[in-house]
């Protein structure tokens, strides 16, 4: 009887529920990550060292990729956050039609990346819809009269910083709603009486917003910021879809570029792995920050 009960206990152990997940992550996540780490520190001949990172530093596009990634991540973060906060506050006022407005602005968030690629490619080409819109709406004429533009703009002919800016704007169009909705959730959970109390006790609307609303919804704001930071640092697809490989290099774009070239070039394998260390580094940093913030949030809610 005792034996049987013991067996039954093992079968019923709650830890068994975790076994499939652990196995899955061991095989399909831990092994590739460890391999990637190992490969990045060994040469093709098997020698351990920092050779691959030297290769990366010698990559003619490394510096561009590094700078572009940084600019993109920080500027898009700023722009998206400012817009998202403004729009979240707007939607939260529950004006007539705010539900419909929310529905409309959430649409870009739902679009698959390759559809976004098609959408903006059809826009950026010379006879594309962006120039069409400028022409039919008369904005083109105004800008030409002001001397800002001369004839249809060649959006795709830009490079360097201008291309990064174009990508920032397009990225903002796409992901601003996902930042906004996190902040909005924070605002909707916010007890209005906190704000009213501040106003009663002598704060102006702006003071109440700055001293009470923002600090109280801070966890939502930081969550949104960190999530955007991480996806900003991982940008590549939109750049490749609009400008192709190598033209607007980003760090993750380098990984994909070298991964895709594995079949033809010998060093690519090592290059891709060495670039991957960068993602490892930033993911752990941001995850660490994120956990600290969400921990505060939990303690605050006690």
């Amino acid at each position: 009887m005792l034996e049987k009960g013991h067996v039954k206990e093992i079968i019923k152990s709650p830890y068994l529920l975790l076994v499939p997940a652990l196995l899955f992550y061991l095989i399909f996540w831990f092994v590739p990550v460890a391999t990637s780490l190992y490969e990045s520190f060994t040469t093709i001949s098997g020698k351990v060292g920092l050779n691959n990172f030297i290769l990366v530093l010698q990559d003619s596009l490394f510096l561009d990729a590094f700078v572009n990634t940084l600019i993109f991540a920080l500027l898009s973060l700023l722009l998206q956050f400012a817009l998202a906060l403004g729009i979240a506050v707007l939607v939260n006022q529950n004006f007539k039609g705010s539900k419909l407005f929310l529905f409309v602005i959430l649409i870009p968030m739902a679009l698959p990346p390759s559809a976004i690629g098609i959408l903006w490619n059809t826009g950026l080409v010379e006879s594309g819809w962006i120039n069409s819109f400028l022409a039919t709406s008369g904005i083109q004429n105004v800008l030409e009269a002001l001397g800002i533009l001369k004839g249809p703009t060649l959006w795709k002919a830009v490079s360097g910083l201008e291309a990064v800016m174009t990508l920032i704007i397009i990225d903002t169009w796409t992901v601003m709603p996902s930042v906004m909705i996190i902040i909005l959730a924070g605002l909707q959970n916010f007890n209005e009486e906190y704000k009213e109390a501040a106003q009663i006790f002598g704060a102006t609307k702006w003071q109440a917003f700055r001293d009470v609303v923002i600090p109280i919804i801070k966890p939502s704001i930081v969550t949104a910021l960190l999530l955007r930071l991480i996806s900003g640092l991982q940008v590549w697809l939109i750049g490749v879809m609009l400008f192709g490989f190598n033209n607007v290099p980003f760090l993750v774009e380098r990984i994909v570029y070298y991964t895709d070239k594995v079949r033809t070039a010998t060093n690519s394998y090592k290059m891709a792995n060495a670039y991957s260390i960068f993602t490892l580094g930033h993911v752990f940093t941001v995850a660490f920050l994120f956990l600290r913030v969400t921990k505060d949030k939990k303690e605050g809610a006690k």
Binding site: E196, Q199, F201, D211
Partner: protein, 359 residues
Amino acid sequence: MSYLKLENVKKVYNNKVTAVDNFNLEIEKGEFIAFLGPSGCGKTTTLRMIAGLESVTHGDITLEGKSIVGLTPRERGISMIFQSYAVWPHMTVYENVAYALKLRKLKKADIDEVVQDVAKTTDIVQYLNRYPSQLSGGQRQRVAVARAIAVKPKLFLMDEPLSNLDAKLRVSMRTDLKRIHQNVKSTSIFVTHDQSEALSLADRIVVMNHGVIEQIGTANEIYHESETMFIAKFIGSPASNFFVVNVILEDGEVYLVHDDFKVQFNGQEKDVLIKNYLDKSVVLSIRPENFTVNKGGFIKAKAKIIEPQGSHIIINTDIGGEEIKIVSDLLELESGENILLGFNDKVLLFDSETEKRIK
């Protein structure tokens, strides 16, 4: 001239729903007023209009003779305790109390003095450096009170401040609020749906229902001279009992006739009854404690259920199909016994159409 005056105040939401209508009230300096009524009666809306958190659709509110309609909350010189206390979670207790003073650009030393002073009054000195999340509900409540009295407001508003506390704490906070009010002598308005809070705290009570004032008066006036059937029903626990009776005149005497009893009426309303209500039906309202049991009565009934309360009992019976509750000190009475009921002269009569008291 009265300190705070509300004249014909009206609030309409979205051009459709009238939340408050025809609200007239004058409050003297230092008075403690309670707005009492069931949920949705407009009491909180009225308070928020005084606070400036809701706009006034129509009418005027004057404080110290000056209209405050159109002023922002911060310009009104008031303070408020919220139902959720709204003690800011990201500030320490000290910062919570000091925030309003900082906004008033007081010197650091002065702020400190005021904070320490009100902390003593409200008994929160030992919590000043804690965050609200580290405090119990009752302690947060005290912080809210401290914050509110620190600014020396012209008007002290409270929106159901005790409703989130458990029953025992509620009673002791009630006493504290009364004590603080007596110390500070601030003019206060207190919104509640709990009649015992209103009756025990307020100098005068404003009873509201469906957005209009039913009666303004002291606890005694409201209880014993209820102006409307609504108040007789709403105030008192158990509530008043009602009988529909016919008024007839026999041999120059007025009688109230019910299926189960017929009683001669000699109250002061007698002349009005003769003048306006002969051969008509009126509503007779009798408070549970105004019945006499087995002391020479004229209504035969049966004690169906007895609810002992320690000091007294509540007898449930029925007269002519109506559920009647009676408070009695016959502690030995058992359910099923036949009883003989009468009532004293503290009865009220209501017009069965308008539901207003006949007087």
